[in-house]
């Protein structure tokens, strides 16, 4: 049973959040935190500090003690300057989504953010957190960047939205807390919760035909191919680009594999989620054993292949299967 004050406060917070969302709208990546969207209030310690300084000012005035008054006013000024520094620490910080780490339902998906400081001064003690709860603070160096991570629990398979999170700092004296609320519209994929291990997949479909030709590992360099959107930046041949030969991607070749194709229709009599869980388990196991595998779902066929990218593609297909909001 929650007390009326807490209920009132929760209602107030909800109103505030809704208002903030209306005021700021959904942020587009990358997000630049300009001064007007940074809020600042004294912390509890800051209020205690203010009370202390107020008592000192009153005492100094009453006893006509100019030095005491002077000290009190110096402390007040330090507090006010610290307030500006606190605001400045956050103002102008930029952040972008680096990557999302998918996870199975029941675990946490991770949003990996990059806090970018485009200024000459460092920005210490930036807390990135889902709600007002404090996360581990991050120090962002001058003209540099620092990674931060947000873990969001995934309750069921599908897209996990990161509706809002908070960046805050109490730098430098802990007397004030400046914060900004970001509505990033980021989402990550939660894969289906895999079924209990044990039930082996139906017989191996030895479909070794074209698999090896397309299977690309990353062991040996085999040559250059023209750049295609989506190729890793790490594999771009920058030297060739500088010579004016256009963008090329370095090619590597992998090793031979055996392949399975896991079929939706091989699991009759189960409901959708149970089938997905079973398929998920098979994919997981096959990937761990290093075997090539494919997936056949109603409306989707994924050729057998190996590698992390393929594995995640299969799981993502399972995660978004027959979800209404699957398409953006």
């Amino acid at each position: 049973m929650r007390s009326p004050i807490r209920r009132l406060r929760a209602a107030f917070d909800e109103r505030m959040q809704a208002w903030l969302r209306r005021r700021q709208g959904i942020d587009r990546d990358p997000v630049l935190l300009h001064g007007r969207r940074i809020y600042i209030l004294p912390t509890r310690l800051g209020i205690a500090y203010a009370v202390m300084v107020f008592a000192m000012v009153m005492g100094g005035l009453n006893y006509n003690n100019n030095l005491g008054l002077g000290l009190a006013l110096l402390l007040a000024s330090i507090g006010l300057v610290a307030m500006h520094h606190c605001h400045g620490t956050l103002s102008g910080l930029a952040l972008r989504l680096l990557a999302t780490d998918s996870a199975f339902a029941g675990q946490d998906v991770h949003f990996r953010l990059l806090l970018e400081n485009r200024s000459r001064a460092s920005r210490p003690r930036i807390e990135v957190a889902l709600e007002s709860a404090a996360g581990g603070p991050v120090d962002v160096p001058a003209s540099g960047s620092a990674p931060a991570e947000l873990a969001v629990p995934a309750i069921r398979r599908g897209r996990v939205e990161l509706a809002r999170f908070v960046l805050a700092t109490q730098h430098p004296l802990g007397l004030f807390r400046a914060w900004a609320v970001v509505h990033p519209g980021y989402s990550a994929i939660a894969w289906p919760r895999p079924a209990e291990p044990g039930l082996a997949p139906p017989g191996v479909a030895t479909d070794t035909g074209g698999a090896q030709d397309h299977a690309r590992g990353d062991d040996d360099f085999t040559g250059l191919k023209p750049y295609q959107a989506g190729d890793s930046l790490r594999r771009i041949a920058w030297k060739a680009y500088a010579r004016g030969r256009g963008l090329h991607t370095k090619q590597y070749a992998g090793t031979d594999v055996v392949s399975h194709v896991f079929d939706w229709d091989s699991l009759p009599g189960l409901d959708v989620e149970a089938r997905l869980a079973r398929l998920c388990r098979w994919v997981l196991d096959a990937h761990q054993r290093g075997e090539a595998f494919g997936l056949r779902l109603p409306g989707t066929v994924i050729e057998a292949n190996i590698g992390t990218a393929h594995y995640e593609r299969c799981l993502t297909t399972l995660a978004l299967f027959e979800l209404r909001d699957a398409s953006d």
Binding site: N64, L74, R125, P172, A242
Partner: protein
């Protein structure tokens, strides 16, 4: 329960250092056991932190806190007031150390440190406190930052540097607030009385006991004369007048009222302004004899002492007038005559008989009796020394006829005693004599070591007349001050001052700085604020102008600080290729070609080249040089110059 060596206690070392510095300013005022307890608590907490020891259990901490409170109450009989309050704060800091487990606890300790600095200023506002207070504020704020600054707080030097920057940035605002913050005309709650024993005159004089006043070089008061400075022999500053003698000690009259006595002044008045250091008594040390004073702030007693209605607990200034030629008292009331003839019923028989003999030799001629006494002091081997032998029961006899060594108190006491024995009404006057002119500050400094005692006798038609027997023994004491009158082996304050010219000048400058501090900073008040505004060109300033000025300066400060912060967080300059590319992008925008956020420079320039066939050649050239500079090996100066040239030629 074990204490994890977590980041929660980041900054414990800084807080301990800050606490040590904050308490250092109080150590001389604290009972030793409190300091010892705090040191023990600090040492224990540090060791416990390093070794990972558990904190004491709740019941123990509560017991310690209660015991500390009781102990402070037992030794001070109160918990309020500066002294007891400070002791209590120090103990609470120690107790708090026992339970620090988070940054918040550490912050509470830093707040206690701030209060300790403040308490020291309530007790004493002298200039010499300033370095300690500033260093303390820096260290305590630094400790606070270290607790809250994260990894930036790891380097002690870096924390101190950042704190110093913060304080320097806060200084202009603090100064503006200090100058413009409206002051109150009077206190709105009572002033804590009788805080501490300060050096100063006593209302009791016991020749033969050791006096520590004479060795204190501290300032008693400073005087600025409107006209000429009176010569040293006329600089008698009147303090308490002592009437009662019990054979050992002289005391003021208690609970006895005497009629006011009339004063007839002659000659020109000496006008001056005196600024008295706080001494917790209501005495105003005024030049003899005070003839004019602010009616509401002072009054003159029947024995011509100037008194304030309240003890002087803070630096106080009075504008006064004095006459050095006067007739004090036109008639002597019988009650006062009896009082000033009173002698203890027994004791000092030889002095009493000396008085009777003198009275017999010079009947009805008190002046002649006094002269005979002064002649005796002058001609017989009396010695002026600050280290006289101790005296026993018949102190006056012993001094007059055996030891013959003493300072002003002994001579004034013996003289007054013999005069009374001879039937001449006499009393001891204490106060200060002399003073040292400070040419830098243009004022006269009177130190505690200038404390003096003399005698006053009733000469009928001439009223009360000052007699200074010390002048008969050591005239140089009056003319040249204490230091000039002492032998080389006497313990005199400031001897070094006189011996070394540099030291002498330095001490003059230091005292002038103190005087400036007192006059301009400590005594800065509502009137000075209005004067300041007038000097700044405000017509008829009042509190509204003051408030307006304060608001305006705070606003101006915030704007300046925001501009500074924007500058501090500005983006570093782009490298040359990037800068040149943004020039090209700006020029192409005029042709309606915008670079998309996700478009790289090369792709953008490709698109631009196909969109503007007339500029295609130039754009492609720029693209190639740009790509070579950006992605190739180390860019050369010639390539960069070529790019600049190409960009400058591009005029869409």
């Amino acid at each position: 329960m074990t204490e994890p060596k977590s980041t929660g206690l980041r900054g414990l070392d800084g807080v301990l250092v800050a606490l040590a510095v904050a308490v250092a300013g109080h150590v001389t005022h604290l009972p030793p056991w409190i300091t010892l307890l705090l040191v023990a608590a600090g040492a224990w907490r540090w060791t416990a932190y390093r070794r990972g020891w558990p904190l004491p259990p709740m019941w123990l901490r509560v017991t310690v806190a209660v015991a500390a409170t009781v102990a402070v109450f037992a030794s001070y009989r109160t918990l309020s007031g500066i002294e007891a309050g400070t002791a209590f704060l120090v103990l609470m800091a120690g107790v708090k150390l026992l339970e620090t487990r988070s940054g918040r606890d550490l912050t509470v300790v830093t707040f206690i440190c701030f209060f300790l600095l403040y308490a020291a200023l309530l007790r004493d506002q002298q200039l010499r406190q300033l370095p300690w207070v500033l260093a303390g504020a820096l260290l305590v704020t630094g400790a606070l930052m270290r607790v809250h600054a994260g990894a930036a707080g790891d380097s002690l030097r870096e924390v101190l540097r950042r704190t110093a920057v913060l304080m320097l940035q806060a200084a202009p605002l603090a100064l503006a607030l200090f100058l413009l913050f409206p002051r109150l005309p009077g206190p709105f709650w009572g002033i804590a009385a009788g805080q501490s024993a300060r050096t100063g005159l006593n209302d009791e004089m016991t020749p033969g006991d050791v006096s520590d006043l004479s060795v204190s070089g501290e300032a008693a008061f400073r005087v600025r004369f409107t006209g000429a400075v009176p010569p040293p022999a006329q600089r008698y500053w009147r303090g308490p007048v002592l009437h009662e003698f019990d054979g050992r000690s002289w005391r003021r009259t208690r609970g006895q009222a005497f009629p006011q006595q009339e004063v007839v002044a002659a000659g020109e008045p000496v006008e001056y302004q005196v600024t008295l250091e706080p001494h917790d008594r209501n005495w105003i040390l005024a030049l003899d004899l005070a003839t004019q004073w602010p009616e509401r702030e002072a009054y003159r007693s029947f024995d011509f002492q100037l008194l304030a209605p309240r003890p002087l607990t803070e630096l106080t200034t009075y504008r006064l007038s004095a006459h050095t030629r006067y007739r004090a008292g036109t008639s002597l009331p019988e009650s006062l005559r009896r009082k000033d003839l009173q002698l203890p019923p027994e004791g000092n028989p030889r002095a009493v008989s000396l008085g009777r003999r003198l009275a017999a030799q010079h009947p009805q001629d008190p002046q002649a009796i006094a002269n005979a006494m002064l002649r005796m002091f002058h001609e017989q081997p009396y010695v002026y020394t600050l280290e006289p032998p101790k005296l026993a029961d018949n102190a006056v006899d012993e001094f007059l006829f055996e030891t013959r060594k003493g300072f002003c108190e002994h001579y004034a006491s013996a003289f007054t005693f013999v005069m009374r024995a001879a039937g001449v009404p006499a009393r001891v006057v204490t106060g200060y004599q002399g003073g040292e002119l400070n040419p830098i500050g243009g004022y006269l400094l009177v130190r505690q070591s200038d404390a003096h005692a003399w005698s006053e006798i009733w000469l009928g038609a001439r009223g009360w007349v000052r007699m200074d027997p010390t002048a008969a023994v050591a005239p140089e004491r009056i003319e040249r001050g204490l230091i000039g009158s002492m032998g080389a082996d006497e313990p005199v304050p400031g001897r070094l001052r006189q011996d070394s010219e540099i030291w002498f000048q330095a001490s003059l400058a230091w005292d002038a700085a103190n005087d400036f501090w007192n006059e301009r900073i400590v005594r800065f008040n509502a009137a000075s604020q209005l004067q300041l505004l007038e000097r700044l060109g405000v017509d008829e300033p009042d509190w509204r102008t003051l408030g307006l000025g304060m608001t305006a300066s705070v606003a101006a400060f915030f704007v300046a600080l925001s501009i500074y912060l924007a500058w501090r967080y500005r983006e570093p300059p782009k490298d040359w290729p990037a800068r040149l590319h943004s020039v090209v992008a700006r020029r192409l925008r005029r042709r309606g070609i915008e670079q998309h956020p996700a478009e790289g420079p090369v792709a953008f320039l490709d698109r631009a080249a196909s969109a503007c066939p007339d500029l295609a050649l130039e754009i492609v050239a720029i693209r190639d040089v740009y790509a070579a500079l950006r992605y190739g090996p180390l860019p050369t100066e010639t390539e960069l110059r070529r790019l600049k040239h190409l960009v400058n030629r591009l005029r869409p």
